[in-house]
């Protein structure tokens, strides 16, 4: 019994000796970076301007309305990691990237140095690979200075938009994060990042920036993004409008609740043929000035046909633009070709650009209208 007591005392003592933690940091000592904007520096050619958006946790409570809940700090340095270290000479807190929500890259920066930043973002464990990335027409810094009514911090607003809005609007795209860009880099495939513009103090996040070989090569507007998203097969839900022919009515709007697509490459006579099967299901939310004379079955049939033609045109247009103008392939077509036809790929991997440029597109689009809402057509 005595022995047990002694052991107990000893273990109590040990508790005092061993209670320490090297990695413990007081939360007050941390500066939480919630957004990063990367721009090319106006004066120095090599350097970049990095803007960090840092949260002020003290003002999160609604009482301290007078103060802004964040502040921005800009650093000029050769790259992101240097700028991150430079923060140490500006403030008393330790900058932490754990809660970083978004990374925005400016147009000029995306055209030239985009790929140099990636390594730091991937090698550091602190930053999550699910961080959203957007490309800004003009300067990325300006986006972080915007004022919003709903949420006070721009980084949070944009990150929520990127998380949610592609489920409502087909013109908004977001399928890339840092991890995705890492995949793009190692496998050498192209991608599209969501485009952000400031339009008279208002934010506009439709459309996208097209990347080839990790560099920005051009822009797509919202209309063109719709086609790309159907090709990629990343549409969950959204709204699709169409102009009706005169005897049917004026225009219509459909709420797409499911879109299933599968894209497969095929080799025909030594030429690449891209086959897309697409099935769209939706409910009508608006039929303006519908012709009520025609019976329901026929009306819906013709409406479906109109939609099919419209979607086909959109896809065709976007595909041609990506193929001819940018020669960029954001649909993982290259990877699919590698998997489907390894022999063909081995022979032709040197002139992939040519193979892609001469590729044909075969579409099979089916639109199914399930319901027409609360009033008859």
């Amino acid at each position: 019994m005595l022995k047990k007591n002694r052991l107990f005392c000893l273990s109590l003592l040990l508790m005092f000796v061993f209670t320490s933690c090297w990695d413990y940091k007081e939360i007050e000592d941390k500066a939480f970076i919630i957004g990063i904007a990367l721009d090319k520096d106006a004066e120095e050619d090599e350097e970049i301007e990095v803007t960090f958006q840092i949260a002020e946790p003290n003002t999160f409570t609604p009482i301290g309305e007078s103060e802004e809940p964040f502040w921005n700090i800009s650093e000029t340095a050769i790259d992101l990691s240097k700028a991150h270290i430079q923060l140490a000479k500006r403030m008393n807190q330790i900058p932490s990237l754990e809660h970083c929500q978004i990374i925005l890259i400016g147009e000029e920066f995306a055209k030239t140095q985009q790929d140099e930043t990636l390594d730091f973002l991937l090698r550091t464990y602190n930053i999550r690979r699910r961080v959203h990335i957007g490309v800004v027409k003009d300067k990325a810094k300006d986006i972080l200075e915007l004022k919003f009514k709903t949420l006070l911090i721009p980084a949070f607003v944009i990150s929520e938009m990127m998380n949610e809005n592609h489920n409502y609007s087909l013109e908004v795209t977001n399928y890339m994060d840092i991890g995705g860009i890492h995949m793009a880099e190692t496998n050498n495939f192209d991608f599209i990042l969501p485009k952000l513009i400031i339009d008279e103090d208002k934010l506009d996040m439709s459309g996208g920036g097209v990347f080839k070989d990790m560099h920005l090569v051009g822009w797509l507007d919202g209309e063109e993004i719709v086609g790309i998203r159907f090709l990629r097969g990343d549409v969950n839900s959204g709204f699709l409008s169409v102009e009706l022919s005169e005897d049917l009515g004026k225009r219509a709007m459909m709420n797409v609740f499911e879109a299933v697509s599968s894209m497969e490459p095929e080799i025909k006579d030594g030429r690449l043929l891209v086959k897309l099967d697409l099935r769209i299901e939706g409910d009508m939310t608006e039929i303006v000035l519908a012709n009520k004379e025609i019976n329901e079955t026929e009306f819906l049939n013709r409406l479906e046909k109109l939609y099919e033609q419209d979607v086909k045109n959109k896809i065709e247009k976007s595909f041609r633009k990506m193929q001819q103008e940018f020669n960029s392939d954001p649909y993982q077509l290259k990877e699919k070709l590698m998997s489907y036809y390894p022999e063909f790929w081995k022979e032709n991997q040197e002139n992939w650009d040519e193979v892609y440029r001469s590729a044909a597109l075969e579409l099979d689009v089916k639109v199914l209208i399930r319901r027409i809402g609360e009033i008859k057509h």
Binding site: C21, W22, D23, Y125, R128, R129, R130, G179, H182, M183, T186, N187, Q332, E335, K336, M338, S339, Y340, P342
Partner: protein
């Protein structure tokens, strides 16, 4: 001693074998597989698993010829006193090397992933003290620890696989075996390291309650790691593709980090916690093997003092490598040595049959 008389139950045997095999390597096995076999990584891991099951079967058959002895004693009987002792010493050295390699790999990974400012030595010493405590309790303590850890560990890994299943891009697997089956077999030998740990089967038969069912439950213990690893590699390569997978140092953590369930934002932390438990059980079984073999080679019974002698050795061995590339090199060596140790059960079995050592008939004679 009372516990040992009662012996290990069947489930405990399976749990011990599974958790000895599933260990440190689980966070990097997709990378190793993708490096070696590309898109066929999962198949290579699966083939290596089949191989390990067969070898485990051989080890069990061999052990069953000597139901009351461990490998150290019956190797002396089979090979003669001198060679048997040499074999025992090889086992000791091998166990120490694996132990140090795992310890160092574990501490390094932990420093990168979780505790960047904690000194490496502290992590290692703490781990060593804990495994010392566990091994000091004897085989029954080790086994009961495994029994407790098995289910939560399985749960976390299965969840990781399950939640990523929907993101697997199946089209990647269309080009499987495009280079033929031979490279896959070659790669399979490079990933046998994943299953190392089933050597514990050499040691446990004398402590088992139901010796007749040793075969069934021992094999069951080796089947689980095969399923876990193949599933993990299949999902990983399906999600990220072989090139990206081979670029990540700790790919499984990345897989866990991809999961975003509503109420658990950082699933990777959960994964790391249970991974630490897996490493812990692997380390305990290797320390047990090392100290037990050393004791029996020297002809003594009580192995507990020898743990204290071996621990500093292991510690020194594990701080010797200077950087990650040296550790990886040791990893490769361990892979082959471990494979040959497991493989050595085949010649041992053959010699035992030829020299008519062990087995039921001979046991009765003795």
């Amino acid at each position: 001693m009372q516990n040992q008389q009662k012996g290990l139950s069947n489930f405990q045997v399976s749990a011990l074998v599974t958790l000895s095999a599933v260990g440190m390597i689980i966070i990097s096995i997709p990378r190793i597989a993708a490096e070696q076999a590309g898109i066929d990584g999962a198949l290579a891991v699966f083939l290596a698993g089949i191989l390990s099951i067969i070898l485990a079967g051989v080890i069990i058959t061999l052990s069953k010829r000597f139901p009351t002895k461990t490998v150290i004693e019956y190797s002396q009987e089979i090979l003669g006193k001198l060679f048997g002792k040499v074999y025992g010493i090889i086992l000791v050295l091998y166990s120490i090397t694996v132990l140090s390699y795992i310890l160092r790999g574990f501490a390094d990974a932990l420093k990168v992933l979780l505790l960047p400012r904690t000194p490496l030595e502290i992590t290692m010493i703490c781990m060593l003290l804990v495994i010392l405590y566990c091994v000091h309790g004897g085989i029954s303590t080790i086994v009961r620890t495994c029994e407790i850890f098995l289910l939560p560990l399985l749960l976390v890994i299965v969840l990781t696989i399950f939640f990523n299943l929907s993101e697997v891009q199946l089209f990647r697997y269309r080009s499987s075996l495009s280079n033929g089956i031979t490279p896959v077999f070659k790669a399979a030998f490079g990933v046998t390291t994943a299953y190392l740990g089933y050597e514990i089967l050499f040691f446990i038969l004398p402590f088992i309650q139901d010796k007749e069912k040793f075969m069934i439950f021992g094999i069951r213990g080796t089947v689980l790691p095969v399923l876990i690893y193949s599933g993990l590699v299949f999902v990983m390569i399906g999600v990220l593709g072989p090139t990206t997978t081979s670029e990540l140092v700790y790919p499984a953590i990345h897989l866990a980090r991809q999961i975003g369930i509503e109420f658990i934002e950082r699933f990777d932390i959960l994964f790391i916690i249970f991974w630490i438990l897996a490493v812990f059980t692997t380390l305990t079984s290797y320390l047990y093997m090392a100290s037990f073999s050393l004791t029996r080679v020297l002809g003594m019974r009580n192995y507990k003092p020898f743990i204290l002698i071996l621990l500093p050795l292991c510690y020194v061995a594990s701080i010797l490598p200077q950087n990650i590339s040296e550790i990886n090199m040791i990893g490769k060596i361990v892979n082959y040595v471990g494979f040959f140790v497991a493989l050595s059960s085949i010649p041992l079995l053959i010699i035992a049959v030829i020299r008519k050592k062990g087995g039921k008939a001979n046991a009765e004679k003795e």
